[in-house]
């Protein structure tokens, strides 16, 4: 038995700002999204642009949006994601599109680089070193940028925000006993948006490597607090955040931000307004949570 599905690909010519959709029927059985894209390029349109390399979910090249959510093309089977016989493929969000499904990834690499994701140590090789298990969480990251695409803070393009993958990398080094970064690393993270994360947990949900990104951010925050950082912003943020959740069953980023920043919130207005307009954070006088989804997401982060 064979199943035919309609592949709908969002295409964009380089330099154009508009995009168009291309539709094509493919046999879906046993095929991944990448198989289908490759088949399209080889037999229908050789100009179709997408990235892929390892075809085994380890190199991180092939992330794109499949029916709206970020996934790896190579490990996503058409039959598993089709909705009424359709699979819509689009480039990642929060990036400028370079061509078709290829995004301009330079800002992503720059954002990761900003947290200096290398070992801070001048000791050289140490014969005895213990690797704490939580480091492994971060070393699983393949830098595919799926999380970056779904990040609600990233959506408003703030400057000085490393993004979910950056925090995951940072977490790995903070936990690495060989690393001497300590408080300096955490301070650097403060300038890279440690307190800006809006707790949507979208990142953790899409991560193809099942990395507990939210947990990593929460852990970094509590380490920063323990190191005496975040006095001005962070501590109050966490306090206001918790209060908001308890009262409304829902966090309200506005009051969290207001309580955290005090009168300085004036500086945050452009970002906040942009987020509110895009529906990323509630208006200050928002209703109580319709569902307890946010609350569940919040408590999923075991460390907070």
């Amino acid at each position: 038995m064979s199943t035919t599905i309609t592949l709908v690909i969002r295409r964009q010519k380089p330099g154009d700002s508009g995009s168009f959709f291309m539709e094509h029927q493919v046999e879906a059985d046993g095929k991944t999204v990448l198989d289908a894209l490759k088949e399209m390029r080889d037999t229908v349109d050789p100009s179709l642009a997408f990235r892929a390399q390892c075809k085994s979910g380890i190199c991180g090249s092939c992330a794109l949006r499949v029916n709206g959510s970020a996934r790896l093309a190579c490990s996503t089977f058409l039959s598993a994601v089709q909705i009424e016989g359709r699979v819509v493929l689009e480039p990642l969000l929060n990036f400028a599109v370079e061509e078709d499904l290829v995004v301009q990834d330079r800002p992503f690499w720059k954002a990761i680089e900003a947290i200096k994701p290398w070992l801070w140590s001048d000791k050289g090789y140490e014969h005895e070193a213990v690797v704490p298990p939580q480091v492994k969480n971060g070393t699983d990251c393949i830098l595919c940028a799926a999380c970056y695409s779904e990040c609600e803070v990233q959506a408003v393009k703030p400057s000085g925000y490393t993004g979910p993958a950056g925090f995951v990398q940072a977490h790995r080094f903070v936990a690495d006993k060989r690393d001497h970064g300590g408080k300096e690393r955490l301070k650097l993270l403060e300038t890279e948006g440690l307190w800006s994360c809006a707790h949507s947990y979208n990142c953790s949900e899409v991560c193809p490597k099942d990395i507990d990104i939210g947990g990593a951010i929460a852990d970094l925050r509590s380490q920063a607090l323990a190191a005496g950082l975040g006095r001005n912003a962070g501590g109050r943020h966490v306090a206001w955040f918790t209060r908001g959740v308890r009262r409304n069953g829902k966090m309200n980023e506005f009051w969290t931000l207001a309580g955290t920043r005090g009168w300085r919130i004036i500086f945050d207005l452009p970002t906040g307004l942009a987020m509110a307009i895009r529906g990323k954070i509630p208006w200050p006088w928002g209703k109580k949570a319709k569902s307890s989804r946010e609350v569940r997401r919040y408590f999923r982060s075991k460390n907070q």
Binding site: K13, P14, G15, K38, R41, D42, T43, D45, P46, S47, A49, R51, A52, Q53, C54, K55, S56, G57, I58, C59, G60, S61, S75, E98, E99, V102, D105, W109, E113, K116, P117, W118, L119, S121, K123, G124, Y125, E126, H127, E128, A129, V130, V131, V135, K136, T139, D140, I142, L143, D176
Partner: protein
């Protein structure tokens, strides 16, 4: 179009290229690294099992000499003993350097780098990061390069090397993003372009493993060697060829056929831990005899007895691949596997310092050109590479190539090159977009090449099939003129796929020729008519 200058230009961002870049940088050179995929997407990132080095951390009496003997034994008489000695002696330091660069090797309870047994190694000397060793190494080396100021050009495709008065002094490269052509000048060039798995239809290698560097080197008169020596890894996930790490067997897993029999002991006393060539032939023989599981051309890999906890701890990535790509739970089900084209033992002939030899010579080198990693051949792997020896090869000889390229660059003047090549290359690309019949694509021609290579130049070879493949390669080459090509401004992938196919065809041609000439079976090269 622009002109770029660096002391050293490294082509390739896998373990060998990154290690070479760091070494050259540490030696004070100013380094540019060009890679057709972002370095973090290189084949090296997929290396799972680990990296061998006689550190003797399990205190089983391991020393470089034992590693040396195992390597020579596996290489079946084709290894260069001096090169193997360097590889094995410098192994432990290579691990320490990587660790200091940030690589997170697993550690024993006493804090020392953990080591485990691996196929063909007489001692437990495989250092690893779970089953993501390559990932850990590539990420650490890449960020070290960034930190130390190596200029990285991600998604730049090297089109050709430039030679002036017999010296290599740069290359012409395409920026893939917009297909712009650039002249890159250097005092020394290091090739680290990886393997050739994409010559075969079933392979563990990524799309980029098309053998470009080998083609580039040949075009400037480099000597190539051992081109018939391709390693087929026994356990590729059927039918995709995705690598299932040997660690599955290292940790106690075994292979079974349709009769539920552990067949490997019929072929070798070491059973499932025999060298890769032997296990691949064992599997292929079972398949050819109709004893594949479920009537398919594959056998079963069984790790169920390890239990879920051990599986998740020791081989988590294999478990994830099985789940994602075959919908199989390793703790309760058997995994279908078959041999997959995995590693190229042959390549560009080099010296211990990474210098590239001239065609027909084992003394004269091409000034200014160096090579390291899978695209090169010393040979440390002979007719059959030992598992875990190739990351080591990349680390040890990548470093050596970087050091000697830096030394060469210090002693030489920058040869300035007239910028004629860039317009010739642009012209060549442009010509490809014109006057072509829209009836076949590079991808389709590559698929045809791959099917023929896997069928006739695979685990078993015979003269008749090889002859047929020679004809096939010629036919494919003739068809290249009708490749479908849709002119569109933007990314250069259409031109690149075509150029890659050209390189692959050149190598395939020589591989088949080499396989025909070598009438005796040795290591991974097996003639059923010998």
């Amino acid at each position: 179009m622009s002109t770029i200058r660096h002391d050293i230009v490294i082509i390739g961002g896998g373990v060998a290229g990154l290690r070479a870049a760091l070494a050259a940088r540490d030696a004070g050179a100013e380094v540019g690294l060009l890679s057709k995929v972002h370095p973090i997407r290189s084949a090296s990132v997929g290396a799972q099992g680990g990296m061998a080095a006689a550190m003797n951390n399990v205190q089983d009496g391991d020393e470089w000499k034992a590693h040396y003997e195992d390597t020579l034994h596996s290489g079946a008489g084709l290894c260069d003993a001096d090169a193997v000695e360097v590889l094995c002696r410098e192994g432990p330091d290579a691990v320490r350097e990587l660790d200091a660069a940030g690589v997170l090797f697993d550690r024993f309870d006493d804090g020392s780098v953990a080591q485990r047994p691996y196929g063909g190694h007489s001692k437990a000397r495989c250092c690893y990061s779970g089953d993501k060793t390559g990932h850990s190494i590539v990420h650490a080396l890449y960020w070290q390069c960034v930190k130390k100021g190596v200029h990285i050009y991600p998604e730049w495709y090297v089109w050709e090397l430039i030679e002036e008065k017999g010296t290599v002094c740069g290359c012409v490269a395409l920026e893939i993003r917009d297909a712009s052509v650039h002249l890159v000048q250097a005092r020394a060039v290091v090739l680290a372009t990886g393997g050739i798995g994409q010559l075969f239809s079933v392979t563990s290698n990524p799309f980029a493993s098309t053998g470009d560097g080998i083609g580039l080197a040949r075009a400037v008169g480099a000597r190539l060697r051992d081109l018939e020596m391709v390693q087929f890894h026994p356990t590729g996930l059927y039918p995709r060829g995705i690598l299932i790490t040997e660690a599955c067997r290292g940790e106690g897993g075994y292979l079974i056929n349709a009769e539920n029999k552990r067949f490997m002991f019929d072929y070798d006393p070491r059973g499932d831990l025999a060298t890769r060539d032997i296990v691949s032939r064992g599997i292929q023989t079972e398949i050819d005899a109709g004893r594949g599981i479920q009537g398919l051309p594959c056998v079963g890999l069984d790790v169920r007895h390890l239990g879920r906890e051990e599986i998740m701890k020791k081989i988590p990535q294999a478990a994830q691949i099985a789940r994602e790509f075959a919908n199989i739970d390793l703790a309760t089900q058997i995994l279908p596997v078959s041999p997959t084209a995995h590693y190229f033992m042959g390549g560009i002939a080099i010296s211990l310092n990474g210098e590239v030899y001239q065609e027909g010579s084992s003394q004269q080198v091409i000034p200014g050109l160096f090579a390291a990693g899978e695209c090169s051949c010393l040979s440390v792997h002979g007719a059959n590479r030992l598992g875990c020896n190739s990351l080591l090869d990349g680390a040890v000889f990548g470093k050596r190539a970087g050091v000697s390229a830096a030394a060469f660059a210090r002693g030489s003047d920058q040869i300035s090159v007239p910028d004629v090549r860039t317009s010739i290359v642009s012209e060549e690309m442009h010509r490809w977009t014109r006057g072509t019949r829209l009836d076949i694509s590079s991808g389709q021609l590559r698929a045809r090449l791959q099917q023929g290579m896997t069928a006739r130049t695979g685990v078993f070879r015979e003269d008749q099939g090889l002859r047929k493949q020679q004809v096939e390669i010629q036919e494919i080459r003739n068809q290249m003129n009708s490749i479908k090509y849709l002119p569109r401004k933007g990314r250069a992938h259409q031109a690149i796929e075509r150029k890659e196919l050209l390189h692959s065809l050149v190598i395939a041609h020589m591989m088949v020729e080499g396989a025909r000439k070598r009438t005796k079976s040795v290591g991974a090269h097996w003639r059923i008519d010998s």
